[in-house]
Symmetry: C2
Subunit: 455 residues, 2 copies
């Protein structure tokens, strides 16, 4: 099955996201999808909180004059901003933008918060919806008009070095985040013509989807003093001078949910990393008439043994076990416990791993140990597999060969690495290879230009 | 100090909410305020999840034709809806509303989800931002143009009785919620002319603010089949007939945060219920030159003893203890631990309760026990105090006395209860008393009409 068809189907079948809302590029996070989203963004929340970031919440609406204040920035967004022009039946005095991103709203306030170097650093983040009037083809959780989940962090510092270090911290946080989810990535410095509007430079994380196309999943921007000059975020230095704050910002979006689905899933359905699985262990009682109570009681007993440590669910529906198995395989539940009369007699428990589709028995007394090991093992295994697939998608070339690049990108795609060379590193190269230059990157110790067909 | 002045000051001084955003009725949840919001809404999340509600996320934008579908509903909102009319530089084909509330968005989808009675009940909720173009005076967290936090639950059922029971469940959930926070309330059935647009009837929770005015803090609506007829939410009954779903919805907003602040606070600042306090215990080391290490080590030791169970913070700032005390009293931290060399010598620890402003000593060995009891005690105490204040604001009258009512409402205000009488229960009464009729209510076993000046 073609990837995009598989992807649409799984969103529906697994109960992740409903695309049938009557606005293009807007949809609904269904209960199961919402839980995956919740556990996923909880990971990044913890990583940010632990590293001294504080969560805040800014308004959605940005007055036109604020959004337009930074010249480069507004140029980058003006074609895709939604405008609120009326309140009730009255035209508004000032048009209000639905935030495409929140630099301008946040930096307006930072000016009010920053007076002296001891007010710095500021490290804040929010998890909010943002809006882009996409004219391109929209795709659920990948290219949305309402980006339902945008984690944006914004920092301000008193020295350039500190801002540079913040970029490093952001990259290291995102690495941990994607590693926790087993999502492989290539980090590259975006070319000048593709950096964030208003930034000094942009570092991006790209992964590769099963159809071989690269997907940007995180960006980290060093804003230098561009915005702080425009928004007059001025502080008194320890020596009594005045300086503009040095700023960074970095974000991830719903695309991480799309990646969890796309990268780990197989033809049967989802394969969820245990850490974000809404149900980590499903218990399916195998009920035969005579021993119904015996089996249900055992299922309940096992549930109680596990429920404080894991998200466990007993599937007591009155349908055949085969259908239950199928349902939970589609939903990507990492571990299934089957409980039947024979196993009970032998003090055994049957386990089933979604990732390898293996069934095996354990002694009842060993259950907790085996489960812990198995869940860790599942995570390790799906991470290894996804990185292997990712590396298979990487083509390293000795030199620039336009025809070869075009051939690869038209067939198996992936990311192509050509040796870095300042002279060829320009927009014309994009035209020649009919693909996107992701940027300059280091791969196994060497410096390359990364090229790919992108989403 | 006048209440509204106190309220504005405390929002700023305690770091809750910054009103200086350049759009009227829009502001910023600052880190400390954001944490109070997070812990508060976590309580309602848990209550809803435990009672079989599932969290979802719907789009912000609602097409004009969808919002306008239910006649009564749109009439209730049309004057205060924000309209998106442009994407980039292009006018949109269909105007898009920023949700003032999500009935129309959600019920459009429910039609697609419901086919047969076994698809019911549906019990979902979301916590989102909603928008009202308020022409009245806006107030932070009380009357906002961007309501930053709106928890809206929506249910659909196969029988009228089940929907009625859902109303009871919703009321009981909200009671538990406000009881957990120690926020007193009067529950009343809103009069016909003040029910939710499109509902059969509305039940509301009102509390009373320190200035004596009533504040609506929750509403529960029985929608009957009004919306399901409009949106064609039709299901096959067990007997093979067709019927329209019976629906309810219920919501709470940022006003609960405003209430926590207003109801419990005193002239010194916030008094936070321990369950939502971002810092439950602050440790202040009393440092004297010679014994600095001794004191800091002890502070660290106490911190480690408590940190797994409570949200604890050591205030190591290099300022005088008096200033630290003051800061944490403003921020409403329930319990303060002071650690000085003399206490250490005597194996004593000094505790300070924010609610009673009492200082007392405990044996170091008894610390955990005393803290647990004290925090429970604080919650009980602030709940008792707030209910007493609330009851002092209630005036029960034997009969309708317009002049008396006007006199009370112009002085100490509060809620006035007059014996329920169908004949006087109409909009004219509102004009006569120059106040709002909250609705019909039971109070200590008798039926009344509740009247108040409201926010």
């Amino acid at each position: 099955m073609e990837f995009s068809e598989w992807y649409s189907e799984i969103l529906e079948k697994a109960g992740i996201y409903d695309v049938r809302y009557p606005i293009k590029g807007c949809g609904i996070y269904l209960p199961y999808g919402f839980k995956i989203r919740k556990y996923t963004f909880e990971i990044i929340r913890n990583l940010l909180d632990k590293s001294g970031h504080e969560e805040v919440l800014f308004p959605l609406l940005i007055p036109e004059n604020l959004l337009a204040k930074e010249g480069e920035h507004i140029k980058g967004f003006e074609d895709e901003v939604y405008w609120v022009t009326h309140g009730g039946k009255n035209p508004l005095d000032v048009k209000l933008a639905l935030r495409p991103t929140s630099e301008t709203a946040i930096y307006y306030m930072m000016k009010l918060w920053v007076k002296v170097h001891t007010d710095l650093p500021i490290k804040i983040y929010q998890i909010v919806n943002t809006f882009r009037y996409e004219t391109k083809h929209t795709r659920p959780l990948i290219r949305l008009r309402e980006i339902m989940t945008f984690k944006e962090a914004h920092t301000a510092h008193s020295t350039k070095e500190e801002a540079e270090n913040q970029i490093k911290e952001a990259i290291s946080i995102y690495k941990k985040f994607f590693d926790t989810l087993g999502i492989p990535y290539l980090i590259s410095k975006r070319p000048e013509w593709d950096k964030f509007p208003g930034a000094e430079y942009t570092v991006a994380f790209d992964t590769i989807f099963p159809d071989g196309r690269a997907m940007q999943i995180a960006t980290v921007h060093n804003l230098g003093q561009n915005f702080s000059r425009t928004f007059e975020i001025i502080f008194e230095t320890p020596t009594g001078d005045k300086d503009y704050a040095y700023q960074t910002c970095y974000g991830i979006s719903d695309r991480v949910i799309a990646s969890i689905i796309a990268i780990h899933g197989d033809e049967k359905g989802l394969i969820l990393p245990p850490i974000v699985a809404p149900i980590q262990i499903v218990i399916v009682p195998l009920i035969f008439k005579e021993q119904k109570d015996l089996v249900l009681n055992k299922a309940e007993e096992i549930y109680k043994r596990l429920k404080d440590k894991y998200r466990v669910y007993i599937d007591n529906r009155d349908i055949r076990p085969g259908r239950k198995f199928n349902d939970w395989e589609i939903k990507g539940v990492p571990l299934r416990i089957e409980i039947g009369p024979k196993d009970i007699e032998n003090k055994k428990i049957t386990l089933f791993r979604r990732d390898t589709m293996e069934k095996f028995q354990v002694d009842e007394s060993q259950l907790e140990n085996v489960i812990e090991k198995t869940l860790n093992n599942i995570m390790e295994n799906i991470k290894n597999i996804s990185w292997k697939k990712f590396e298979n998608f990487i083509t390293i070339m000795d030199s620039l060969d336009i025809n070869k690049i075009k051939e690869i990108l038209s067939q198996r795609k992936g990311i192509i690495l050509i040796p870095f060379n300042e002279e060829i590193y320009n927009e014309k190269l994009e035209e020649k290879v009919e693909a996107t230059i992701l940027g300059e990157t280091e791969y196994k110790g060497n410096k390359y230009i990364a090229i790919a067909k992108t989403y």
